[in-house]
């Protein structure tokens, strides 16, 4: 009888030893972990694509953030009854404002995804060719730099608001977060100077490493050069802005399209536009990169849109009745119930999201050139005017500014231009007023309670 017991016990021990591991290492078959999912070059490329996917998010480069910039600057009106737009319309953005929260959340999500790519490349976690390493790291650095630039525009006082730009910028998150404990790291806001310097250094590194041949949907060397011009221009560093803008203009790789709207109408930028230096691809509704613009403004849907150009912007555009841009941007479409002025600029089911285009570089070239006395600012300005079908004028700060406002109508650029020009009336506030900023959102404060608030 004891034999039976011992053999049963032995059996149990055997069963338990073999099955213990099996029982304790149950992993759902449908679950892919980080290590299994990033093993080779194509996996890492998919992760980089994941970063681009957030980069085109409506609150990053996809449009909504820029719609908010136009509503703050009173270039666009909003009839939305949502409290988020209510706060923006009255410049009372608090920590719960969903627009501010989503700009913060998505820009940083994009940074985190770019950081993962950089971490994998720097630590040789996957096998890549030297070319892939160089190009992909630079692409990730570009995405990250533009995200920090985007954040510092919405959450910090503008450049030059304090003497040494010591005003709080945004936290510079540059480490890939691959474990929970790092996610909890509380980073203070770097100064605006530090953020700008980081962005510039990164973009310069991108410029050195990015491919000179454009890759569909991916940033190339010209993208970095153009963005450097844009950042320096925003800092009012005209010599550097001119230098980078001039590099693009001189190389002659880009030109203005015949039609001002061609770049928005083209989901595939190769065939119809030569103006885009870098934009997010869009080839189907599921891959729409500019939905933030179209969802806000488009008029060819069942319901009238909740956003449109304000009367002041409309009057600017209608100053000259031959202005092509007026007919495209302004549409008096209302229904009997809800009359109003709307824009048809973004009337597309899916569209690219331009990040940097030649017309912007041309106007930077004009204004920086004018300030420095370099180049031919009038020629630059006239190129823009010719395309718009308006009478040509000689370059002056005023003329360039007026052209800029119309050229980029409803693209969210006017707000930042007013800040650059240190306007004392942006929605009734001075250029360096913190009322024009979003508050550091609750989702940051919850985990980082000591962060300095606006």
């Amino acid at each position: 009888m004891k034999k039976i017991l011992y053999s049963l016990l032995a059996f149990f021990v055997l069963v338990s030893v073999t099955s213990c591991n099996k029982l304790l290492e149950v992993k759902p078959e449908t679950l892919t972990g980080i290590d299994e999912g990033i093993q080779n070059a194509s996996d890492l490329q998919a992760v980089l694509n994941g970063s681009y996917d957030v980069f085109r998010n409506t609150h990053v480069m996809g449009g909504t953030a820029f719609v908010a910039a136009d509503v703050i600057a009173q270039e666009a009106y909003s009839t939305s009854t949502g409290f988020e737009w209510g706060q923006i319309k009255t410049l009372n953005m608090n920590l719960f404002n969903p627009i501010g929260r989503d700009i913060w959340k998505n820009a940083y999500l994009c940074v985190q995804r770019a950081n993962v790519v950089i971490d994998y490349i720097d630590n040789d976690k996957v096998t890549l060719t030297a070319e892939q390493k160089k190009q992909w790291k630079a692409e990730a650095q570009f995405i990250r730099a533009v995200c920090f630039y985007h954040l510092v525009q919405f959450f910090s006082l503008p450049y030059d608001a304090t003497k040494d730009n010591t005003q709080p910028g945004v936290p510079l998150r540059v480490e890939a977060i691959l474990a929970n404990e790092f996610a909890a790291t509380k980073l203070a806001r770097a100064s605006v100077e530090e953020v700008y310097q980081f962005v510039l250094t990164e973009l310069q590194s991108c410029e050195a490493n990015l491919s000179t041949t454009p890759i569909y949907g991916h940033v190339s060397k010209d993208g970095a050069t153009a963005y450097l011009a844009k950042v320096y221009f925003q800092m009012n560093k005209m010599d550097k802005a001119y230098q980078y803008a001039d590099a693009i203009v001189t190389a002659g790789n880009y030109s203005l399209d015949n039609n001002w709207w061609a770049k928005f109408a083209s989901a595939s930028m190769d065939s119809t536009t030569h103006e885009v230096i870098f934009a997010m691809t869009s080839s189907a509704i599921a891959e729409n990169s500019g939905s933030g613009y179209s969802d806000s403004y488009r008029t060819n849907k069942a319901n009238p849109p909740s956003f449109g150009p304000t009367d002041i912007l409309v009057s600017q555009l209608k100053q000259i009745n031959t202005d092509q841009r007026a007919t495209q941007v302004v549409l008096t479409a209302g229904t009997a119930n809800v009359p109003g002025v709307y824009s048809s600029k973004y009337n597309y089911d899916y569209m690219i999201a331009p990040v940097i285009c030649y017309n912007e570089i041309l106007l930077i070239h004009a204004e920086a050139g004018f300030a420095l006395g370099s180049g031919d600012p009038t020629a630059d300005l006239n190129a823009i005017q010719t395309r718009a079908g308006v009478p040509l004028t000689a370059a002056s700060l005023e003329n360039i500014a007026s052209e800029r406002r119309k050229e980029f109508a409803l693209e969210g650029k006017h707000f930042f231009n007013l800040k650059r020009l240190k306007s004392n009336n942006i929605h009734g506030e001075g250029w360096n007023s913190s009322k024009l900023l979003f508050q550091i959102p609750d989702i940051e404060q919850n985990g980082n309670p000591d962060i300095i608030l606006n």
Partner: protein, 1047 residues
């Protein structure tokens, strides 16, 4: 006093001398014999055998034998703790069987992996006998526990057939993870009792267990009792023991014949209460008044939306006020139309038979519970065979097998329609039938969950859940040597759940559609338990137990079928095997997908316990369990859960012995650590998602959604328990008192991290909370005469709960319906609402309390405002009751018995989430009659604001809908009559009983039924929204008649 002792001593000495001397002259014989337990037939060690009237005595040896020299013809008195004293004439070679004393304190209670005498238990365990539950027509056995066990809160979701309950033992100890106790049926661990979500209800995984098969339920409450279940013991453990026959039992009137028990019960079910809603006349009057108010006060969203038509505003559905007035205010009582008197039946039959080798319990049951809701029924067919077989003196095998098949015909309720619609958006002036076509139901004009007329849905919107389930185990018990046994056990809980939905096109003139989901989860267990009882000597007794347990849960497959029939074509639900043409099957209107899921989770455990008794009065209990699970991260794979408790039976001490009052008094203290492992199966792993449909540049995108958490572990509860148990006047009065403090840490929470990390929260073990409370239970036999007896059982418990850490989460990080939140310094699930300060007499508008906060979020000013803002929310109310309890009285007169039970709740609040629609703007909801007290003109003092058509007003969660949840309820009342044995030849017993449940209720709650529970989709909502209701179906009031025959 001193003299008294001296006298006693002298008397004692004299008596002793007399006895001794007398014995010298008497004729002596030597008698030897054996003592056994009358039930187990096992020999008994240490029984005192005394020659009656003498001091001549001895105790039985290790084999239960004794040898004693006595006077010829002497009487032997045998006594043993917990057994009835036996007096027998001495005769050589005698075997004496001793019976256990049937008192409260000598019950055998089931502890984890074994049993213990209640007298010796040092943990907090409450036993409920199956008979107490089976006598009630409850939808599922766990509902019958309500009001019985101190500190056990049973929240029955509703009066639906087969409806489930949530049970909280000593408060709630979790936020996001499972909060229900661990259910173990005959040693088989069941998965968490959450059920499947169907519409607005969760179905119940426990209703497949036939209450009639339950012998007893033991509820393990404190850590020293539950720590043996380690990482799954923190919410308490409910041990269910099913009925079985006893080996060697002679049954049926002394003959060795099977004993049969047949019962039949019929139950009549009605709702305890329904809403008092406006009739058409009142509705129209208030509608017109609201219209005029809006005109008068210029409410933009109100009357203006209707256009300017002052005399006859158009009512919803295009009805004109004038026509309704002319038509004589025809009212449809939708609640009445949707309800009925449900008539249910239950038949249970069982057979018990035991001889020396074989013990069998076999049962069959058929229950057809029909609720008060039309078309709602729960049908259960159950069978059980429990068998024990003695292979040899030392080897016993056996099994418990059950198979049940249940069909739950659900109906939509609450927000999902049905009665919920009748209580809300079915307006009183709407007719049942289409005025232009009386053969058809009137089609509702509103698009709220479809515009179905709830009556049209009856029979045409099928939601049918079928379970085929077995919970079984098999064991081998081997008595290796004296007092050492090894038990091997294998268990299985396996079921197939088939859920059918069918939507007939007659309701909405859309296509008929059907879907079916079949899922097959299975839990397999294996364990070995070693038991050794070692009595060092009479005063030092040890019981050792050690074991190992393996558990694996897997899901064989998950299959989903769905079909949309072509327009105009009829179809059937899948369970009725509809004809589906080949063309339809090939089309995109048909889909049949199945996936193999495989292993879900596993547990490996080792456990052990030592129980030591010193001098029969000092009790020491130490247990430990080590658990490992696939759910835990690699750095915390194993958890150790120790517990220790001590007890002291004061009545065994000389100073308490023979005190004349207490026949039993025990104090006990215990401390232990338990866990809650009901965390998601895959939370420890990182997760990378590849999105193949959302592309970038035509290529797939991939991203991280979850970071690895190798530190992930169970939630830990450390608890302390101290209490006492007593028996007074030979247990005429017995009771218990417990104090406990439970501190839970490592709560599995989405802890806030800075969003600049790219994440807003990570799931980690970070939260903390505590529960503390007291429990008191009392059983008294008030009167006991030959013909009449009266016994009382009373219990009451207090619990307080507070969250102390949420990992810096913001106020909206954890929430559920009804604006319940998890806030530091408040109980779990506190209501987070705007305070309403009444109605402004001048304008009839509600006044809110505005809050001004400083940068730290502290309130620095409170002010009155008409503006509602979520910024003004503040924690209000008490989601959990302060006191809960029950009071039962049982009266027996000759062959009649009457028993009644009250249960009560004191303190706590209910948040009536539907009330905001029922007491405010008139329009697409019918309102409660309470609104007749509304504000009408300046100067009116009332708590009901003026009527408006502004549909925005109700969407405000304020404390106006927060109510005192205290109640007292006559839970059940039963009257029975038992026929004397053999009144009819061959029949041992016939009992007829009449039982009523939920008969009377006293409460201040103005809503409907104060016993509410909004059964929620996930574990967190189940923990948080316990005090929230939303037009939930009320409890059932039932009357049932039952007959039980034993032969």
């Amino acid at each position: 006093m001193k003299h008294f002792y001296t006298l006693l001593k002298t008397l004692f000495a004299v008596t002793l001398m007399l006895v001794l001397t007398s014995s010298m002259f008497a004729q002596k014989v030597q008698v030897s014999g054996k003592v056994t337990d009358s039930e187990t037939r096992e020999t008994m060690v240490g029984v005192t055998v005394l020659e009656k009237g003498t001091q001549n005595g001895i105790t039985t040896d290790i084999n239960g034998g004794f040898k004693i020299t006595v006077q010829k013809g002497a009487i032997l008195v045998l006594s043993f703790v917990g057994y009835e004293q036996v007096e027998v004439p001495a005769s050589d070679g005698m075997t004496v069987a001793m019976k256990t004393k049937q008192t409260m304190l000598n019950q055998v209670v089931v502890v984890g992996y074994g049993t213990q005498n209640k007298r010796e238990v040092t943990g907090s365990i409450y036993k409920v006998k199956g008979a107490e539950i089976t006598s009630l027509p409850v939808p599922s056995f766990e509902a019958g526990l309500q009001g019985r066990a101190p500190g056990v809160t049973v929240m029955q979701s509703s009066g639906l057939a087969g409806a489930g309950s949530a049970i909280k033992i000593r408060g709630v100890s979790s936020i996001t993870s499972g909060g229900d106790p661990l259910y173990v049926i005959d040693g088989v661990i069941l998965p968490q009792n959450q059920g499947e979500r169907i519409g607005a209800v969760n179905t119940n995984v426990l209703n497949t267990i036939n209450p009639d098969d339950i012998e007893s339920i033991d509820i393990l409450k404190d850590a020293s009792a539950t720590a043996i279940y380690g990482s799954r013991g923190a919410n308490g453990v409910v041990l269910i023991t099913t009925k079985r026959a006893k080996l060697g039992q002679s049954t049926s009137g002394g003959k060795k014949a099977p004993n049969f028990n047949v019962g039949y019960r019929t139950t009549m079910s009605t709702p305890t209460q329904l809403y008092q809603l406006l009739n058409t006349e009142e509705y129209v009057k208030l509608y017109v008044e609201a219209y005029e108010n809006d005109k008068r006060f210029g409410v933009v969203n109100g009357a203006a939306a209707q256009g300017d038509n002052p005399s006859t505003p158009l009512l919803y559905g295009g009805f004109k006020v004038k026509d309704i007035v002319d038509g004589g205010y025809q009212t449809t009582d939708w609640q009445k139309e949707m309800t009925r008197v449900g008539i249910g039946h239950a038949v249970d039959a069982s057979m018990t038979y035991g001889n020396d080798k074989l013990a069998t319990y076999f049962s069959l049951g058929y229950h057809n519970d029909a609720s008060y809701l039309k078309e709602n029924s729960f049908n259960l067919f159950s069978s059980r065979l429990n068998l024990d077989y003695k292979l040899s003196k030392s080897l016993q095998v056996g099994f418990n097998t059950s198979y049940s098949h249940s069909i739950n015909n659900l109906v939509p309720v609450s927000w999902n329609g049905g009665l919920g619609k009748a209580m809300s958006t079915a307006l009183p002036y709407w007719p049942i039938y289409d005025p232009t076509n009386p053969d058809k139901y009137y089609k509702f004009p509103q698009a709220w969950n479809g515009s179905y007329n709830p009556l049209a849905e009856l029979g045409n919107r099928v939601m049918r859940e079928r379970y085929d389930r077995t919970i079984s185990n098999i064991y081998l018990n081997y008595n290796v040597f004296k007092n050492f046994t090894a038990r091997f056990e294998g268990g299985i809980d396996s079921y197939t759940r088939t859920y059918d939905e069918f939507f007939n096109n007659v309701i909405e003139e859309v296509n008929t559609r059907a879907s079916q989901n079949i899922i097959k989860p299975q839990t397999l267990m294996a364990k070995v338990i070693l038991n050794y009882d070692y009595d060092l000597n009479k005063n030092n007794k040890f019981k050792f137990m050690a074991g190992q347990e393996l558990l694996g849960n897997s899901t064989k497959y998950n299959r989903n079928k769905s079909v949309t029939f072509p327009t105009g074509e009829a179809g059937d639900a899948f369970y009725l095997n509809p004809t589906i043409s080949d063309a339809l099957m090939a089309s995109q209107n048909y889909s049949d997908k199945s996936e193999v899921i495989g292993m879900q989770y596993g547990f490996v455990s080792y456990f052990g316990r030592v129980f030591y008794t010193l001098n029969n009065k000092y009790l020491f209990n130490v247990s430990i369990r080590q658990d490992a699970s696939s759910r835990f991260g690699t750095n915390n794979k194993w958890g150790t859960f120790p517990a220790a408790s001590v007890g002291w039976i004061l009545t065994e001490e000389d100073f308490m012995k023979d005190n004349g009052i207490f026949n039993y008094f025990k104090v006990k203290v215990g401390y232990g650590k338990t866990g809650n492992a009901e965390i998601p199966n895959d939370a420890q792993y990182s997760r990378l998602i590849t999105n193949d449909t959302k592309l970038y540049g035509g290529q797939p995108i991939r991203y991280i959604t979850q970071l690895p958490n190798p530190d992930l572990r169970w939630e830990t509860t450390n608890s302390f328990d101290a209490g006492f148990e007593f028996g007074i006047l030979k247990d005429r009065i017995s009771g218990s008192f417990d104090y406990y403090y439970k501190k839970t840490k490592d709560l599995f929470l989405n802890a806030a991290v800075p969003a600049s990390s790219g994440l807003t929260s990570v799931l980690i073990n970070v939260g903390e909370l505590w529960n503390q409370g007291v429990e008191f239970g009392l059983n008294t036999t008030n009167i006991k005469t030959k013909n009449f007896s009266w016994t009382t059982n009373f219990n009451i418990a207090y619990n307080k709960n507070e969250v102390t850490n949420t990992g810096n989460a913001g106020p909206d990080a954890f929430g559920s319906t009804g604006d319940v939140r998890v806030l530091v310094g408040y109980p779990v699930g506190v209501n987070y609402l705007v305070k309403e300060l009444g109605v402004d007499p001048a304008t009839g508008k509600p006044i809110y309390e505005g809050l001004e906060k400083n940068e730290k979020g502290e309130i620095i000013r409170r002010f009155k405002t008409f503006t509602y803002s979520t910024d003004y929310r503040q924690p209000l109310g008490k989601p959990w009751p302060d006191w809960i309890g029950g009071l039962s009285n049982t009266f027996q007169y000759k062959r009649f018995d009457v028993s009644c039970m009250f249960n009560f709740q004191l303190g706590g609040s209910i948040y009536d989430d539907s009330e905001k629609y029922q007491l405010n703007a008139i329009g697409n909801w019918n309102l409660r009659k309470d609104v007749l007290d509304r504000w009408q003109q300046p100067g009116d003092i009332t708590d009901v604001p003026r009527m408006t058509l502004d549909a925005d007003v109700p969407n405000r969660n304020t404390d106006r809908y927060l109510h005192d949840a205290s109640y007292l309820r006559l839970k059940n009342l039963s009257v029975g009559y038992t026929l004397a044995p053999n009144t009819i030849k061959g029949i041992n017993k016939i009992r007829v009983a009449l039982v009523g449940t939920n008969l009377l209720t006293w409460t201040k709650y103005p809503g409907m039924d104060p016993e509410i529970f909004r059964d929620m989709e996930n574990q967190m909502q189940r923990n948080l929204s316990a005090n929230v209701t939303y037009i939930s179906p009320p409890q059932a009031r039932t009357f049932s008649l039952s007959v039980n025959v034993e032969f």
